[in-house]
């Protein structure tokens, strides 16, 4: 039935948790493209039939015309579903690059969900963000609300090793250690879940 596979692809994307990616469904994607080719072939054979009968293709309205029309509409529909699938995934990838990926590698479990071109897209997007920020010599990725206190207390959640160089000192980030860091330094680690802020 026309457009069902494309519908499945879009539904799979919609059923996922909002803002999170599932692994790129290459198989279903290829099947939809195959279906598009089938529709295209059927369309061409119907048009050939009309030409053999000597009818003017643009204006004749016989049964072949409507059959060709249905194939054409199914093709457009499949295209729309494929485009929406890729577009919405790219939106999530941009979000990831902005929030997490600027200087660092993504956790492996997220990385394996990308397709090859999506990986490239992620890298290129991070690179252009970085070059933009370095040209401005301004980090636009930090919290937009000016804080009351430029320093915050954090607890390290995972072992990050020693001798990490921050903007004003070097620190030793062993697990469960507490530090008093500059807000802008701590932000990148908190966003990646490696530290947590301590309030109160």
């Amino acid at each position: 039935m026309h457009g069902r596979k494309a519908y499945e692809l879009v539904k799979e994307f919609a059923d996922g948790e909002k803002g999170h990616l599932k692994i790129f469904n290459n198989e279903l994607f290829e099947r939809v493209i195959e279906e598009c080719n089938e529709h295209h072939n059927a369309l061409q054979s119907l048009i050939r039939k009309m030409q053999e009968e000597g009818l003017e293709v643009q204006t004749a309205r016989n049964a072949e015309h409507y059959g060709a029309l249905i194939h054409h509409l199914s093709l457009i529909r499949n295209k729309r579903c494929l485009m929406a699938y890729v577009y919405n995934r790219a939106e999530i990838i941009r979000e990831l690059a902005w929030k997490v990926g600027l200087l660092h590698e993504l956790p492996g479990e997220i990385q394996e969900k990308f397709s090859d071109s999506e990986e490239q897209y992620f890298k290129d997007h991070s690179k252009s963000l970085k070059s933009y920020m370095s040209q401005l010599s301004l980090d636009v990725n930090v919290d937009m609300v000016p804080p009351k206190d430029p320093y915050i207390k954090v607890r390290v959640l995972e072992d990050l090793g020693s001798g990490i160089i921050l903007s004003d000192k070097s620190a030793n980030f062993a697990r469960h250690s507490m530090h008093f860091l500059k807000r802008t330094d701590a932000e990148q680690y908190i966003a990646r879940g490696l530290m947590e802020e301590l309030t109160g």
């Binding site: 879009v10 059927a42 054979s45 049964a63 409507y66 059959g67 997490v100 932000e187 879940g193 309030t199």
Partner: protein, 185 residues
């Protein structure tokens, strides 16, 4: 064309509508009851909305009111709109109704949708702010996609307000990274 990439719009257009073909069509396998791969004039078929819309504009078919707007649903909505299980009729009840109304020429659909939405909207907001988790989950199964989005938005704004009131850590782990898994060491 602002909805071209919109996932909800695409899914809403996949709903089936009953149509009657005015013109025959060859070379397509749409009618499951015909032996040849063609559709005859006067055949009654269920088509997805995206196909039906375009064929209607080219005057090849006529569309009749889909099953989810039948008399039974209307009576239920008139009785008590807040308890009707619209999700089982169609998870895109309102969007579907809005798209169908000009194609079918039924003026009463608009009034039906509006009255149902008004009553349910009130219910959604009150439940989002006050209901405990157990009662709420049964209610959630009755909601269409659009209504669930409203419900979640209400809950998010409520928790944001509470957080502002109590104070809390401002910097958070990025939500795109997903839920934290406990590390076993």
């Amino acid at each position: 064309m602002a909805n071209y990439y919109n996932i909800d719009d695409i899914l809403a257009e996949e709903e089936f509508v009953p149509v009657v073909f005015h013109k025959a069509a060859n070379g397509v396998i749409i009618d499951p009851s015909s032996e040849t791969n063609s559709v005859e004039q006067g055949a009654k078929v269920e088509l997805p909305l995206w196909l039906a819309q375009d064929l209607y504009l080219r005057q090849a078919i006529s569309i009749s009111v889909p099953a989810c707007f039948n008399q039974r649903t209307r009576l239920e909505i008139q009785a008590d709109a807040a308890c009707v299980d619209l999700k089982s009729r169609s998870p895109y009840f309102y969007e579907f109704g809005c798209k169908i109304a000009p194609l079918v020429g039924d003026k009463t659909i608009e009034i039906l949708l509006l009255s149902a939405f008004k009553i349910r909207y009130k219910e959604i907001l009150t439940k989002a702010y006050t209901a405990a988790y157990t009662t709420a989950s049964k209610f959630l199964t009755l909601l269409t996609k659009e209504e669930s989005n409203l419900y979640e938005a209400a809950q998010v704004s409520m928790s944001a307000f509470k957080k502002w009131r109590m104070g809390g850590p401002r910097l958070q782990r990025a939500s795109v990274l997903g839920r934290k898994r406990r590390s076993f060491e």
